[in-house]
């Protein structure tokens, strides 16, 4: 995965208030720079649940089409 895509995605999720970020302590292996740490907010957890639910529902519908059984 390209790092650039990770930045973009994290920025969008933060803008939608699904995650929050803060800077950690400076670290020598980063040339004295800090790391950005990510926390998933409750809305983010709920969104993940809803999306996975929706995906499951869709997959469920597709099972019928594909002739699979649960």
């Amino acid at each position: 995965m390209r790092r650039a895509n990770v930045y973009t995605t994290l920025q969008r999720l933060e803008a939608k208030r699904l995650i929050s970020t803060h800077l950690g302590d400076p670290r020598p292996e980063r040339g004295g720079k800090a790391r950005r740490l990510v926390n998933v907010r409750p809305a983010g957890v709920a969104a993940v649940r809803a999306t996975t639910g929706a995906i499951s529902a869709m997959v469920g519908e597709l099972r019928g089409v594909l002739g699979e059984t649960e």
Partner: protein, 884 residues
């Protein structure tokens, strides 16, 4: 330990958001050190450079992404989606668009009209300082315009108003050489008008103070259109002589195009005042204007004028007892005449129409939003913000209201131009020069504001409601084919209100349409196409010198000779005159009728009257059915005889002969009652004045040409009257240059113009009611569609559990019936209240109509349920069970 190359760090640092610089650089550094450990310094530098370039590209993309979102790239997509929605839902587009177009069109039209009429902007320099001076007669509740004496006094004394001037409007025949003279609206005006208007002439000069002096040679200044149309724009017109009425006058100048000061005048001649002056309230009526002097205000001018008139009142208390002068803004209302609040109130009905239309269309849009429940839920749960979805629905509604606004504005522009033309066509000279029919930029901006408000009501309210519930709940419902949206009490109230309003408007719409069609049918039986209407005026030149009696005698002679010459034409069957011909609109007076000798007189609020000349009834083919016709003795001043029509006998005499009975007009002052007129004959109904109770009852008075105002000639012509019209004009111009024919057209055409406003009103009301019926039906349809869609599972389960089809249908129709029934009940309630409060309407007369309209509304409402009911019946129990 090697660090990330400086160029890579610089590239990333320059593009990273300020609050992310540290961590992004840290990431770059950490990755570089890791690479250096694994691949060596050189390879690590190359890879880190590539990494930095990739990061820079992503950072640039993300900046563009934000920029695009901010500048509305997504808005363009929303607009496209909105346009697609218009095509996808044609019913909503037509119904909603029509309702909004009407609302926005009315709003913009009224705004434009109110600005033109109440706050006109004069296209003259210092327009806001130009004023009109009026003298209010408090006793007569009108304006006193015989102000020549006061004008001369004010011109001498007043300091706060400069360029004080006066004018009066006169109609004159204008001719050059052998060309046929034609009437033109002229202003007899003081030369100060041209100083005040400060518009230089196109050719020659304007009027001068010396032209006003008694005995000065007669001069005229031509307007641009007169110069172009009558004189072909001849550049040598300056100094030429023309015939103005019976006076030979020298043209001294031509004014530029568009100049029509003081109102709509196309020709200016000096207002010459008598050297000996005037007594108070002597002379012809005039209008006075001026410009507030520099350093003064309108209030100061008003105060000064009041002081001057107070002095005059002290000298002549009786004359000035009730006269109150006031200084007004020219052409419109003065600042302070009405408060801002009152002006806003005049726009209230317009806003109300918009709100009603929005409420109607909002119901439909809300139903559409409900059908798009799934789309909204998926977008919402995949991360679209609530604002983004509300914005999208707002823009969709804005597209609809914008399309409607364009249609509404186009219609308003057309209607305003046509309406102004029609309104001013009956007035000599046309509209005032400051009125510019057609929509202006400010009106467009106002309409744009209405459009945005409409879009907000239509788009935002349903969107807020649609996105209020949590996306998880909506997602859960997706599989079930149901909707979480419900019609709340607001929309239900709107529906009920709409049904009630339509019901209230139905009876008047049906009534006025019926009446209009009936009147046209009845009048169609009269051969109005055989008659030519000629309205006659005789110039009263030397107005100050010719006495009223002399003028009356001259008018009488001129008319008789004109009628004699017309009668000699082979096409002319008969000639007569009256103050109005059949079908030309009513003249009503308050009167008393004596039903039997010595009986108590019956008061009649509106007695239809006409003053008619000799051979009036023969000319119009109206036979005498009782008594006698007028003779020459009846036309003398002492005679007090009248004829009536059969409708009069039916209405006031219970069928008995009215001959020998009496009628009189009621004076405003009871102690000063007018003398009685004796009815000497009865004529058959003409059939041109239908009312709800049959032909209008008429009282005909005998008249002489000099006593009739207006003097309208009726000429019965064999063959087309329009073909004969040019000959009538030719005969008149040869007879007397001062004889003006202000109107020469067929009676058919004139009667049609009288009918036109009623027919327009009927058509407008019928359209509004039809739209109301359509919107009601569409609203019920939407409501029931949503209801059925939401209850798919319930209906399916009930069907599976053995509920019969009639039972299912009853459930759907009952809900619609309750809704429409509430509206019908509310509407009938208002109508019954109105009937109870109005003495003129009897419940037994309108009961049938109320039942009929209620049945119609219920039918329309139930028709809206047909398709949703069909959908409900198509739901198969197994489908519903599988979904659940």
């Amino acid at each position: 330990m090697t660090s990330a190359p400086w160029w890579a760090a610089l590239l990333v640092r320059s593009l990273a958001p300020r609050d992310h610089v540290d961590d992004v650089l840290g990431d770059l550094e950490e990755a570089h050190r890791s690479r250096a450990g694994r691949h060596g310094t050189i390879a690590a530098r190359a890879l880190t450079t590539l990494d930095a370039v990739d990061m820079a590209a992503a950072l640039i993309r993300s900046r563009f992404d934000r920029l695009r979102t901010n500048t509305g790239n997504s808005m363009i997509q929303d607009y496209k989606l909105g346009l697609r929605m218009l095509v996808k839902y044609p019913g909503l587009t037509i119904a909603g668009g029509l309702a909004l177009a009407i609302a926005i069109g009315i709003g913009a039209g009224w705004y434009d009209l109110s600005r033109d009429l109440l706050h006109p902007k004069l296209p003259l320099p210092n327009a806001d300082r130009i004023v009109e001076i009026e003298m209010r007669d408090a006793a007569a509740s009108g304006d006193e315009r015989r102000l020549l004496h006061d004008f001369i006094e004010w011109r001498r004394e007043i300091r706060t108003v400069e360029a004080l001037g006066a004018y009066r409007t006169v109609e004159r025949n204008l001719g050059l050489g052998d060309a046929r003279p034609e009437p033109v609206t002229a202003a007899e005006i003081t030369a100060s008008a041209f100083r005040l208007a400060a518009v230089p002439p196109l050719l020659g000069r304007t009027l001068l103070d010396s032209d006003e002096q008694p005995g000065a040679p007669p001069v005229v200044v031509l307007g641009y259109t007169v110069w172009q149309q009558r004189f072909g724009g001849r550049s040598d017109i300056d100094g030429q002589t023309v015939r103005l009425g019976r006076t030979t006058t020298t043209v001294v100048g031509v004014m530029p195009e568009g100049f029509a000061f003081p109102v709509n005048h196309r020709l200016w001649v000096p207002l010459q005042l008598r050297a000996s002056g005037y007594q108070p309230l002597e002379g012809p009526p005039i209008r006075i204007f001026g410009r507030i002097a520099p350093g003064s205000t309108q209030a100061q001018a008003n105060a000064e004028l009041v002081t001057i008139v107070d002095r005059a009142r002290a000298a002549s208390p009786k004359t000035y007892e009730h006269l109150r002068p006031r200084v007004l803004a020219y052409g419109g209302e003065s600042p302070g005449d009405r408060s801002w609040f009152e002006l806003m109130l005049t726009h209230l009905p317009v806003v109300l129409v918009l709100i009603i239309a929005c409420a109607n269309v909002g119901t439909l849009i809300y139903a559409r939003t409900a059908t798009r429940d799934a789309e909204i839920a998926i977008r919402y749960s995949l991360g679209a913000s609530r604002g983004r979805i509300v914005g999208q629905l707002f823009i969709e509604a804005l597209v609809l209201s914008s399309v409607a606004a364009i249609a509404g504005l186009t219609f308003a522009d057309w209607a305003l131009k046509r309406g102004m033309d029609a309104y001013f066509s009956g007035q000599p000279g046309g509209p005032p020069f400051w009125i510019n029919p057609g929509l202006k930029l400010t009106t467009m901006l106002y309409a744009a504001a209405l459009t945005v408000i409409g879009g907000a009501i239509l788009g935002v309210l349903p969107a807020i409601k649609a996105t209020r519930s949590h996306p998880h709940g909506q997602l859960r419902n997706l599989g079930s084919g149901g909707s979480t949206l419900r019609f709340g009490w607001i929309w239900t109230t709107v529906m009920i209100g709409q049904v009630a309003l339509t019901l209230i408007l139905l009876p008047p719409a049906m009534g006025i349409t019926q009446e209009s069609l009936r009147d046209r049918a009845i009048r169609g039986r009269f051969p109005a196409g055989e008659y030519l209407v000629v309205q006659i005026e005789l110039d009263r030149e030397g107005v100050i010198d010719e006495s009223d009696a002399e003028f009356a005698a001259r008018l009488d002679r001129t008319y008789r000779e004109f009628a004699r010459q017309l009668q000699r034409q082979p096409e002319v069957v008969a000639v007569t005159f009256a103050d109005r011909l059949p079908g030309m609109g009513p003249s009503v007076r308050e009167a008393q009728v004596e039903p039997a000798p010595g009986a108590e007189p019956v008061n009649v609020a509106n007695m239809w009257t006409a003053a008619v000349g000799p051979q009036f009834f023969e000319t119009f083919g109206v036979p005498l059915v009782a008594g006698r016709d007028f003779n020459d003795t009846d036309r003398g001043t002492a005679a007090r005889t009248v004829l009536v029509n059969e409708a009069f006998a039916r209405r006031y005499m219970n069928g008995a002969s009215p001959v020998g009975r009496r009628v009189r007009y009621t004076a405003a002052n009871a102690s000063n009652a007018e003398p009685w007129f004796e009815i000497v004959g009865v004529v058959r109904d003409v059939g041109m004045t239908p009312t709800d109770l049959g032909e209008a009852p008429y009282v005909f008075q005998p008249a002489a040409p000099a006593t009739v105002r207006p003097l309208v000639m009726g000429v019965r012509v064999a063959g087309g009257p329009e073909m004969f019209a040019p000959r009538v004009r030719s005969i008149a111009s040869q007879l007397d240059a001062g004889l003006r024919l202000d109107e020469v057209r067929s009676l058919d055409d004139l009667a049609w113009r009288v009918d036109l406003p009623q027919m327009i009103a009927a058509a407008a009301l019928a359209s509004i009611v039809s739209l109301g019926l359509f919107l009601s039906s569409a609203g019920i349809f939407s409501l029931m569609s949503v209801s059925v869609a939401r209850r798919t599972r319930e209906i399916g389960l009930r069907s599976a559990l053995g509920a019969s089809r009639p039972r299912l249908l009853a459930g759907i129709f009952t809900r619609a019936l309750v809704l429409v029934g509430s509206g019908v009940a509310a509407g009938n309630g208002v109508l019954l209240l109105f009937i109870a409060l109005t003495a003129e309407v009897d419940l037994s007369d309108v009961g049938g109509a109320l039942i009929g309209t209620s049945a119609l509304m219920l039918t329309v409402g139930l028709l809206g349920c047909v398709e949703p009911a069909r959908r409900a019946l198509r739901i198969h129990p197994t489908d519903a069970l599988r979904e659940s």
